[in-house]
């Protein structure tokens, strides 16, 4: 049994991307909602923010209680900064920077996303 800690997740920017992982077809992601994908030992939450016309990806692990749940959270926006609210205790994280918006937890790692030919790709540096 593996317990994946926070150290597994490091923010990847578009410039760092070495490999675009073909995650799943667009239809797997509800509009204005999220779903979780697996890449190697990582769980990544991907959000289809239809209202903004943007896709976001971040670690599925909530740094508060170390549960793999962020993909099941509600997304929304605060002062037009896209965010996800953890379903367990409503901790809000920016989907742009990963910053914890309503407290002082560690920021979550975010990943670049692109959509091509009906498929969603997540960028990784390894």
């Amino acid at each position: 049994m593996t317990t994946l800690g926070l150290s597994t997740y490091k923010t990847v920017t578009e410039e760092d991307v070495k490999f675009w992982f073909k995650a799943a077809s667009v239809s797997k992601f509800p509009s204005n909602g999220g779903a979780c994908i697996k890449y190697k030992n990582k769980q990544i939450a991907i959000f289809n923010f239809t209202r903004e016309g943007t896709w976001y990806a971040c670690q599925n692990l909530c740094p508060h209680k170390m549960e793999m749940v962020l993909s099941r959270g509600m997304i929304g926006e605060e002062n037009m900064e896209a965010k996800v609210a953890c379903p367990l205790h409503k901790n809000n994280f920016s989907l742009k920077t990963g910053k914890h918006l309503n407290g002082d937890l560690e920021a979550i790692a975010t990943y670049p996303v692109k959509v091509k030919d009906g498929f969603v790709y997540v960028g990784f540096s390894e």
């Binding site: 994946l4 995650a23 204005n32 697996k38 769980q43 509600m74 002082d104």
Partner: protein
């Protein structure tokens, strides 16, 4: 550049920093702070809340980043060990030396441990820091189910008793004095408090002097006198505080004979470059163990250092205090006990409801001198204001403590009647004038922005209701109405949104946001709007699943480790042996932890996301349907067996409960709601502890509404007496529908009813006498909801697109390998949080 060193990062030390950076030019001053605890300053006043959620971070007064942003150098885990006044330097436990221009001693206090024989034994703790609590908790886990004593029946001792009870031990409070809280309460109020606490399972032992702690190596009991012992497995000492003054002593500052660093009204010690504030400072030959005077000292020290010499500590310090002790309000203000030559007292006591109120009035009946409130202290703020501002008393001052209850108007005028100089927030010393000015002149329009601007209500929070009233009233004078806006995306209250959705027939969240809202929504407005759609169209959460709270979205209750629990409906708590066996078989197959709930049904825990549709498919095949345990909707209708079996029963409570639970099942509302039906006034179903309840009496059913258990237990109030079943149902139909349409999001029926102007009389007029002319509409709306019920789990398992949502990964068949269970009494539970 001047350097200011603050020794101590507790509440008062932090307050000094906060006030200092707010006022001082940070280019001229450098602030260095030392704290010996590993954590940044936290709220010790609410320490017992740490037990409720184990979340230490939530108690922090400011995150570490706050210190960085304000260029404060913060060294935690580093104790200042010595002051060298000649060189104006300090040294620390890590052997580092720093020099200062001003030194601020805010070292606080340590718990006083009386010199009792055996006090060093294992299992004896103090109650002061988060670390103390953690150690206590670790030990408590080894003696679970045992007894724990708390030495000291003061404020902190009673808080500790609650903490100990939460740890799963039987609490015994041992007090030397003949009464609880001897410094704040008179003996009658103390007795009222004692009876109340005893009814909650806290044992109280008064007039006990502890001679020794018994036990071989670890504590097994306490001995008071000859043959007078108490067996306990743990002891928490909370017998007062002693100032942590050793730094002052070794530096040769003037000290009090019983400890404490002597300060004058500028907070100056005998060395003009050193100030002392908080519980280490001896002012007027007193140590003040309350937050408010500590904060005031911090303000004086800041102003003195910045050269505003006119700010001085008041000669007399107000020790008024209000707190919620284990859910019981306790407050005292001014002179709580008063010799009869100074004035007379008016006392109201109601032992059955554990209420005690006392006010002390001057002989001429014109001034309020002080008082004590136990059991309910809603009027504390107003009374305190009247006392502090020497406001004239009404002709019959007893109305101040007995007039305000029930339907009659509150005896106080509005908070606006206070003089501008009245201090409304005593923690932060914010006046009524400052709060109103922040609204009228600076344009702040809600509690959050006023609190940010003035700091009011950011301390203990006790003044929040009054600050809200002042904001509302000030806005009214500007001709603005005050709206309880749902969130930044909708400038409407829930009730207004409800009407908009209904009138315009909006059926889609995005459409509503585009037409009457702004932005892209958030986790506050989405579920609120989802509930409105559900109440109007009775649509299930499956339709717009991404605007639902997680429990509604997946039709199950998310648990600590991200797994879910499954609760089928067992209407009225009536279940056949066959159904029991089916449930048992399914729980066993999926290895679920099972437990009987408080609502007379069975909860099955530990289901992984992908298992939910499989489990429900089997349950539905056995004839079960969803219990909506996850929803803001009807939960259960609890019943006693009633006249079908019980020899006292007046009517068939089970049949009624089954009928009514099936009537309201699936109806979504602003918050969850529960019902109860009892077959006689013995009330075994606890119907008066529910949002609605029926009790069978001679000649019909009594109908009660607006009760709940939980953190603020409330008994439901009588809506109608001795009515037949059909009438009873009709009244409750209308009550629920009226509540659904007008309540705030996440407001249960009890607080809704409390805020309803006119209270129960008004509600009776609406639902019985049709004073608003809306009962036909309410009846039709309720009937539509009842008629359109469907089991949303049946819908989910039968619809492939919905079933598909129940996968952990959308790109892999694997399941979440992060979930770990450990065994517990032949079942399983989630592994502890890392």
């Amino acid at each position: 550049m001047q350097t200011i060193i603050v020794v101590g990062n507790g509440m008062v030390g932090y307050k000094f920093c906060e006030k200092f950076v707010a006022q001082a030019d940070t280019k001229k001053y450098k602030l260095i702070v030392f704290g010996e605890e590993p954590r940044v300053a936290y709220d010790r006043v609410h320490l017992s809340e740490f037990f409720e959620d184990g979340d230490a971070e939530r108690l922090s007064l400011a995150p570490r980043s706050w210190y960085q942003e304000n260029t404060i150098e913060l060294y935690t885990n580093e104790r200042v060990s010595e002051i060298n006044r000649a060189t104006k330097t300090i040294s620390t436990s890590k052997n580092r030396t720093f020099s200062y221009d001003h030194l601020v001693l805010a070292t606080g206090s340590v718990p006083f441990v009386p010199p009792i024989r055996g006090v060093e034994k294992k299992g004896v703790f103090v109650y002061r820091t988060i670390e103390d609590l953690e150690e206590t908790l670790a030990y408590a886990n080894t003696v679970k189910g045992g007894k724990a004593a708390i030495l000291g029946g003061g404020l902190l001792g009673l808080e500790a008793a609650k903490a100990v009870m939460d740890m799963g031990l039987e609490p015994h409070v041992v007090e030397f004095a003949p009464k609880l809280m001897p410094r704040q309460l008179d003996s009658r109020s103390s007795k009222v408090l004692q009876v109340k606490l005893e009814s909650m399972g806290i044992n109280i032992h008064l007039s006990k002097a502890t001679n020794q702690i018994l036990g071989n190596g670890k504590i097994t009991g306490m001995e008071f006198g000859e043959d007078d012992t108490l067996d306990v497995d743990m002891l928490v000492i909370s017998a007062g505080i002693r100032p942590r003054d050793e730094l002052g002593k070794s530096a040769g500052l003037d000290m009090g004979t019983r400890g404490g660093i002597v300060v004058n009204n500028k907070m100056e010690t005998s060395d003009p470059n050193i100030v002392a504030i908080g519980e280490v400072a001896l002012y007027n030959q007193m140590i003040y163990g309350l937050v408010a005077p500590g904060y005031e000292m911090a303000q004086v020290a800041v102003d003195q250092i910045l050269g505003k010499e006119e700010t001085k500590m008041a000669a007399e310090i107000d020790m008024s205090t209000k707190l919620k002790l284990i859910g019981v309000d306790v407050a005292s203000f001014g002179t709580p006990f008063m010799p009869s030559d100074k004035g007379h007292s008016i006392i109201f006591e109601n032992k059955t409801e554990s209420l005690y109120k006392r006010i002390n009035v001057s002989h001429d009946g014109k001034k309020l001198l002080g008082g004590i409130l136990v059991g309910e202290a809603d009027d504390y703020n107003m009374l305190l204001q009247m006392y502090q501002n020497e406001m004239p008393l009404p002709e019959n001052p007893e109305a101040l403590i007995i007039g305000g209850r029930g339907e009659g108007g509150v005896s106080f005028g509005s908070a606006m009647d206070l003089p501008d100089t009245a201090v409304v927030c005593s923690c932060e010393a914010v006046t009524k004038g400052a709060i109103c000015c922040s609204v009228l002149e600076d344009g702040n329009e809600n509690l959050k922005s006023v609190a940010q601007a003035t700091k009011a209500a950011t301390g203990c929070g006790g003044c929040k209701p009054m600050v809200s009233d002042l904001i509302t009233e000030s806005l009214k004078t500007l001709g603005k109405t005050v709206k309880v806006q749902i969130c930044e995306h909708f400038e409407y209250s829930r009730q207004e949104l409800f009407d908009i959705v209904k009138l315009r027939g909006v059926q889609d969240y995005d459409e509503l946001l585009d037409t009457v809202g702004t932005g892209h929504g958030c986790e506050v407005c989405k579920p609120a709007v989802a509930a409105i759609f559900a109440s109007i169209y009775n649509e299930t959460a499956n339709k717009q699943n991404t605007i639902q709270d997680t429990n509604d979205r997946y039709l199950a209750n998310i648990q600590r480790n991200g797994t879910y629990s499954v609760v089928p409906r067992v209407a009225g708590g009536e279940i056949t042996p066959k159904q029991l066996m089916a449930m048992g078989r399914i729980a066993q197959k999926y290895d679920l932890y099972t437990k009987i709930t408080g609502g007379q049904r069975i909860d099955m825990f530990g289901a992984k996301l992908h298992e939910l549709p499989l489990i429900w498919e089997e349950l539905i095949k056995e004839g079960f349907e969803t219990g909506q345990a996850y929803g803001k909707s009807l939960r259960t209708v609890k019943s006693c067996v009633g006249s079908t079996w019980c020899r006292y029963g007046m009517d068939e409570s089970v049949s009624f409960a089954v009928e009514i639970e099936n009537r309201y099942k699936g109806i979504r509302s602003p918050h969850k709601f529960k019902g109860g039906v009892s077959g006689c006034i013995r009330e075994c179903a606890e119907a008066r502890g529910k949002d609605f309840g029926f009790i069978a009496v001679e000649g019909g059913w009594n109908v009660y509404v607006g009760g709940n258990g939980g953190a603020n237990p409330k008994h439901a109030i009588l809506l109608a007496e001795k009515v037949d079943k059909e009438t009873a149902i009709k009244y409750v139909d209308r009550f629920i529908m009226f509540y659904i349409k007008t309540a705030l999001p996440l407001q249960r029926t009890a607080p809704w009813l409390e805020k309803l102007e006119g209270g129960i009389t008004y509600l009776q007029n609406v639902v019985i006498n049709d004073s608003l002319g809306i009962v036909e509409e309410l009846d039709a709306e309720m009937q539509a909801l009842v008629d359109s019920y469907k089991c949303e789990w049946k819908e989910a398992v039968e619809t492939p697109e919905i079933r598909e949502r129940y996968t952990h990964f959308v790109n892999s068949e694997e399941t979440d390998d992060n979930i770990e269970f450990v065994s517990l009494r032949e079942q399983k539970m989630p592994k502890e949080w890392a």
